[in-house]
Symmetry: C2
Subunit: 200 residues, 2 copies
């Protein structure tokens, strides 16, 4: 059985949202599974020197054209969130709490969080919003709230982000397939070929 694809993303990343819509199908096409690994890009940026897109001169304004155009290109609904980007620590904690219960349902939760942010302009920086989205996805609210505050979960989030940095992750989305890294939704075509041929 071939190794799962590691799918790194930030809940506040539009390109991560696009990738989340396609990653499972890409993997399934090649008989692979996906390990979803949401991370805190802000923590990674402290190491990489990266910055949130909107704050970068020239590139920021460009991204506000490229993001909706890319959404249209991929055929995905997209609404620019009122607050962008936002802190996603509650979302990431909720994800890893849910993953410990049931990885498949955690993926459903992740997709609901991304949809809430990038289609419905919900404020996913607010733990209450995450709990509400979790409730709609069938998670028990009191348990999820406790999970978001659980030191074990907090530690898992920190370890996942630290491990991502060690593995070279600097952006969202970021795939690692059998050790080979692919940054960006626009590398899905190369990832597809890699999975097909096993190399260059």
């Amino acid at each position: 059985m071939a190794a799962p694809i590691d799918f790194y993303f930030d809940f506040s990343s539009p390109y991560g949202y696009f990738a989340a819509d396609r990653i499972d199908a890409l993997a399934a096409k090649h008989g692979r599974t996906v390990t979803w690994r949401p991370v805190l890009l802000g923590a990674i940026f402290k190491v990489s020197g990266g910055q949130p897109l909107p704050s970068i001169p020239l590139k920021g304004p460009y991204s506000l054209r490229d993001i909706p155009r890319s959404a249209a290109y991929y055929g995905l609904p997209y609404r620019q969130p009122t607050r962008f980007p936002v802190a996603t620590v509650s979302a990431v904690r909720a994800y890893y709490w849910a993953e410990a219960l049931d990885p498949a349902r955690a993926v459903t939760l992740a997709k609901a969080i991304l949809t809430g942010y990038f289609q419905m302009d919900r404020d996913i920086s607010d733990a209450k919003t995450i709990i509400a989205i979790g409730s709609e996805a069938g998670f028990e609210s009191v348990a999820m709230e406790a999970g978001i505050g659980d030191p074990v979960v907090k530690d898992r989030v920190k370890r996942e982000t630290d491990a991502a940095i060690v593995r070279g992750v600097f952006g969202s989305p970021y795939l690692i397939i059998d050790g080979e890294p692919f940054w960006g939704m626009d590398r899905f075509d190369q990832a597809d070929r890699w999975l097909q041929t096993g190399g260059w």
Copy 2:
């Protein structure tokens, strides 16, 4: 007659080299022409805060995998230059000097410079190398040497780079099609659709 596509690139940019191989065909497919506009990305980075890829933590090491993989993906020969990136002011001046004589031959020169750097590891930061490449492409060496030192040509290079910044160019390659910007070789697919449909 539809407007030409503006094709901005830096002679030291691998992704610009990939794009240079395809831009004329992309334009021709849609009955367009291309205005080649080499610029000095270093000057642009002073405004945008951008940095040469190899010096960026995490992203730099990634790029050294992504560049040859992308070359293989596009079916282009690629050899990582010994010195990378390099100053390209002589190359850009030679280009605009040649363009004033004959735009089509200037494009031939541009392709020869890119091939010299990314296939043959020639030091294109050296004006002597540029003049040698120009000579191989049929340009008279004494005239080109004078052109590279001509204040009118120097001023043209400065104006082109300043104009690029005003138009939002922050990377290489960068296309502007009827006012719509496309950054990166990996946006050729969206540019293709844009040219087909005239919008989103």
